[in-house]
Amino acid sequence: MKTLLQRISITAALMLSILSLAGPVAAAPLTTRYVVLSSSAANAVADYTAHFTTATQATIGSIKFEFCTTATGSCTTPVGLVTTSATLGAQTGDPGFSMVNTSNGAPYINGGTTLVNAGTALSYVLSGITNPTADNTAFYIRISTYTGNDGATGLIDSGTVAVSTATALSFTGVTPEILIFCVGTSITTDCSSVSGNNINFGQFSPLATSTGTSVMQASTNAANGYTVSVNGTTLASGANTIPGMASTAASATGTSQFGFNLRANTIPSQGANPGGAGIGNFVANYGTINQYRFNDGETVATAAGPSDPNTFTSSYIVNIKGSQAAGVYTTTLTYVCTASF
């Protein structure tokens, strides 16, 4: 019996020796861990939002965040890093912790009393941490959970996250006052998509109205908006002309006339109403459905202030009388866009 007790004692002593040689029991790794910095600029005071997922079911009494120049081994706090003013912000997954920031480079939060399941995603915002002094320098945050409240006792899980300061990039740009204007025969989005620069009416007839459309788009950030006018002569073939419609009127076959408006018309069926997010619109003279007009130099569209793009569709009609002289009738219409003042 005595021998047996001696054997048990010897065995227990050997086991204790072996355990102490092995050191602390290895913690399970925290998973899905990362830290988001509100600013990575050197010396900046930033918020550090730590995200990680528990590996072990336990009541977490404290969580330590140790800032080191290396991922493993003895920990040296990065030069310039200050955590002694850190405060604890938003907490998710396992709230109820308080900040203990007395040891620079190794703040911890404590006060947790809830049993947390394995695989629980946690996040904590550590605010008011001054970043290390050096630019573009990596450092590491060793995150450990403990059953104890002191950030040291009863290690549960742990994991390391690499972070880095970075040279702050400065982005500057100028938005000057600008005026944008384009003209074509089709447009899909903005002026970069405008295409076409002429309208072919084909063969005129006294019995049918010839039609065609063009498009224009304008926008500006100028305080008083913009004005678009049409400039040019009516259709001409040498000395022969098809008179422009000096007064607003309907299309009439058998009468020589040339005009346009900026509306979706039914007689003849063509055109579109102004579109786009801007405040630009047609003027009254060119804004009545099925009523056409053309006078050199007249304003056709305006915006009374800064305006996003508006697309205007010009719908042209050409009629000729039976005695209209034969010829190739052409003209150039210049749409002029300027700011208003």
Partner: protein
């Protein structure tokens, strides 16, 4: 005979199959791939002052905002007011009686060739004559994309964009304001009729 017939039919089918796509292409007009005309100008309005005899320099920036190369022809016009809402009325040609003219003071700029997306800074020199009348002189520096030539009935389109130049020549100026018309609606209160500041005037 059968063999010949089948051979002929085969050739006909082959020919139809070969040329059918071409026929379809001829029947359906191909969408125009010719770029339109579009320009961006900055700033849209320039307000400057100068002394008689002085040369004033300023700049405008012009950008081709289309997918094609543009040749922008420059032109200077005077302008006046159109209506009461600040719309400029361009004056084409010369008007010797226009006391507010700026056109002849602006040095020619020349045509500007722009590649797609290219932004070009263009310097403007305005030479104010020694005998220039003090006060406001108004012009517009315009850039117009060259219109295409036509060989059939139709309309050739051109986009033109301009910067308004409002130049004030220093010197003694007598500014006059005439109240041409006033009216009062019966249903208005005095607050509606007179603005706040005016009512404070004794």
């Amino acid at each position: 005979l059968k063999k010949t017939f089948f051979n002929a039919s085969g050739v006909a089918v082959f020919l139809f199959a070969s040329f059918a796509p071409l026929a379809a292409m001829a029947a359906t007009p191909t969408p125009s791939t010719t770029p339109g005309q579009g320009l961006e100008i900055s700033p849209p309005v320039i307000q400057i002052t100068g002394d008689p005899g002085q040369t004033v320099t300023t700049q405008v920036r012009l950008r081709d905002i289309t997918s094609g190369q543009l040749v922008a022809k420059s032109e200077v016009n005077d302008f006046g007011a159109q209506g009461e809402s600040g719309q400029p009325k361009l004056i084409f040609g010369s008007d010797a009686n226009n006391r507010f003219s700026l056109k002849s003071w602006v040095q020619p700029v020349g045509d500007v060739t722009l590649n797609p997306g290219e932004l070009r800074t263009i310097s403007l020199r305005i030479v104010i004559p020694r005998n220039a009348e003090p006060g406001g002189h108004y012009g517009v520096i315009r850039f117009s994309a060259l219109p295409p030539g036509l060989n059939s009935t139709g309309v050739s389109l051109s986009a033109s964009i301009g910067t308004l130049v409002l130049l004030r020549v220093s010197g003694n100026v007598t500014e006059k304001l005439q109240l041409l018309e006033t009216f009062y609606r019966k249903e208005w209160t005095s607050r509606q009729f007179l603005p706040e500041r005016s009512r404070d005037i004794r």
